[in-house]
Amino acid sequence: MKPVNTQPKRSDEPIWWALFSAGGVCFAVFLPGLMLLLGVLWPLGFLELSPLNYASLQQLAAFGYGIPALALVGACICLPLFHAAHRIHHGMHDLKLNTGLAGKLLCYGLAALLSATALALLWCVLKQPLV
């Protein structure tokens, strides 16, 4: 019998799966409402949406909306990005595209890069002087 390996190589999959799972919850709970309101009803003019005027949005940011805004960007952009990266990474395998490690790095790397960009953009919005 082969001896039991007491120091097995740890898988990094739990990290990606946790991000996928958390992003999946956000996609299912936060995004439907956001998509319907910001993506459909607001552009069609069905909503008043006064806070979405540029000046009032800036005021909103100025009134110490830092932490809630950070949580909002994390829940509505960053985590769903990792959710999408996970599904695309495994979807490529389903489509018999053998992209291997490069595909994995590209998927999760892009998710990380875009998440950092979203957080940087939020930082710029919050730090912006009021008009």
């Binding site: 919850v25 996609f27 709970v29 552009p43 008043e48 800036q58």
Partner: protein, 132 residues
């Protein structure tokens, strides 16, 4: 004749089943699986819109008005409507998974509770953003 030739060789060839890249078109169940996986494609489009909005907000009012005009284009609204429908399909599959992974309460109750959360978030957003 050729069959006999193959059989007479010393080691038989191993059997490889050929799986096409379009295996998921063969059965409704597989197709639904692939559709669920594809829900992230319109999601990515909507996330791009959100990031464009953040960017324009960080620039100037001119940029912001440009973003508003972008969002009002027909094809953008159509894609975001698709993203909304996809999010509901994803939510249905995701909510049904939860009671199977972690059976804390009767499945129907857990699924209903999660839909209630989605509805609650949408309602709060609707009230916050100013109902017309």
């Amino acid at each position: 004749m050729t069959e006999q030739k193959v059989n007479s060789s010393s080691t038989p060839k191993p059997y490889h089943s050929e799986l096409s890249a379009f295996w998921w078109l063969k059965h409704r169940y597989y197709l639904l699986y692939m559709l669920r996986e594809a829900t992230v494609l319109p999601l990515l489009f909507f996330l791009g819109c959100l990031m464009y909005g953040l960017y324009s907000l960080s620039q100037s009012e001119q940029h912001w008005l440009g973003f508003v005009a972008f969002m009002q284009q027909g094809w953008v609204i159509a894609l975001n409507l698709l993203a909304f429908v996809a999010s509901l399909f994803h939510a249905k599959t995701f909510f049904e998974l939860f009671p199977r992974v972690m059976p804390l309460a009767p499945a129907a109750l857990m699924i209903a509770g999660q839909w209630l959360a989605t509805l609650g978030v949408a309602t709060v957003l609707f009230l916050m953003l100013g109902a017309g």
